[in-house]
């Protein structure tokens, strides 16, 4: 099954995977940082990869991205992506600083953002493995900070255009007085999507 063929019920199941996953990621982040960080999943929907740039201001928009392949019983990839301003906001939130404190994405800021992204992706993959009862592991994360169009094309080339549509799971990081959204694109191999949905009882 390809992502664009998903029913509302099936999409809901994918969103549920996201909710469970980010719940665990939030707990892990709060433990590391020593202060509360919440993450929610306001939505999950199907997007054509070619439509993504127009959602964020064009192909040349500067974004931070972390890509991880899903290995094991099922295949696919997960791309974590945030425009520059949003990722600076995330770093502020994770450091418990007022929004606008972080001005540039240096090595230290990059490490914090990648760490949060990796936790989120790992938690999502772990939730998928548990709920669908499959063996899955995330590959080590790869990082890029450049034009969005270039980031997306590398990912779609690697999947070999089998995934020209993706499932967009929005992850909202929250602290007491700040919230910032990250985009998590789940790029499933079509066969793997059948397996996951079948095991979750919504095939």
């Amino acid at each position: 099954m390809r992502p664009e063929e998903l029913s509302d019920l099936q999409l809901d199941a994918i969103r549920e995977l996201g909710s469970v996953g980010v719940g665990h990621a939030a707990t892990a982040l709060s433990q590391i940082l020593g202060h509360f960080v919440g993450i929610s999943v306001p939505e999950a929907r199907i997007v054509a990869v070619s439509d993504v740039p127009s959602m964020y201001g064009g192909a040349e928009t500067l974004v931070a991205a972390v890509y991880t392949r899903i290995l094991g019983d099922i295949e696919g990839g997960i791309l974590f992506m945030m425009p520059r301003d949003a990722v600076l906001g995330l770093v502020d939130l994770l450091r418990s600083r007022p929004p606008g404190s972080t001005k540039t994405l240096g090595n230290e800021e990059e490490a914090i953002a990648v760490h949060a992204a990796t936790l989120l992706i790992s938690a999502y993959v772990a939730a998928m493995g548990r709920m669908a009862d499959v063996n899955v592991l995330p590959s080590s994360p790869a990082f890029a900070y450049d034009m969005m169009g270039a980031v997306l094309e590398v990912v779609t080339s690697e999947i070999g255009m089998k995934a020209d549509t993706a499932i967009l799971v929005t992850a909202r990081f929250m602290e007491e007085d700040a919230a910032v959204d990250a985009a998590l694109f789940y790029l499933p191999d079509p066969d793997s999507l059948d397996v996951v949905l079948g095991k979750m009882g919504v095939a």
């Binding site: 890509y67 990082f143 034009m147 969005m148 590398v154 020209d164």
Partner: protein, 171 residues
Amino acid sequence: MTDGTATGTPYAEDVEVIRVSTGEYAIAQYPQVLMTLALGSCVGVALWDPGLRRGGLAHVMLPTPSDGGRTGSLMRFASEVIPEMAGALVQHTSGRRLVAKIAGGAAMFRGDSRLAGVGDRNLEEVRKQLLLLRIPILAEDTGGSHARTVELHLDTGVMVVRSYKFGIKEL
């Protein structure tokens, strides 16, 4: 219409810019300008006919159809789009006049060797196809780990390459 010689601003506002989407190609005639955005591992292949001030620009995604894809346009593959684009350009003239400039083929993601290989394989196939067609590569800005936006100016054959890392470069 300007003569396109301004250096500060590459072209006046009334110049028609033709955008080439990912995995496609376009042919244009001066004073039109060809442009494609955000090349990562993809390669921008520009072919230019100096005599006619005509040219083509392709946004190559993958080397050959065996590299993936049962559906979608064949024009995203180097092995398909380069002969097709060259054929479309030489309908009106001799093929020997065509020259090429290429940009892109970067490794965008650090820390993943398999992802890093796509750009190199694209460049290899692009060079092979241009060699088969005996079209010389006059200049290139390839490899590295940064994204590029390119424009092809059809009066001078200049390829303008823009990136966050290095700013504006002219080939």
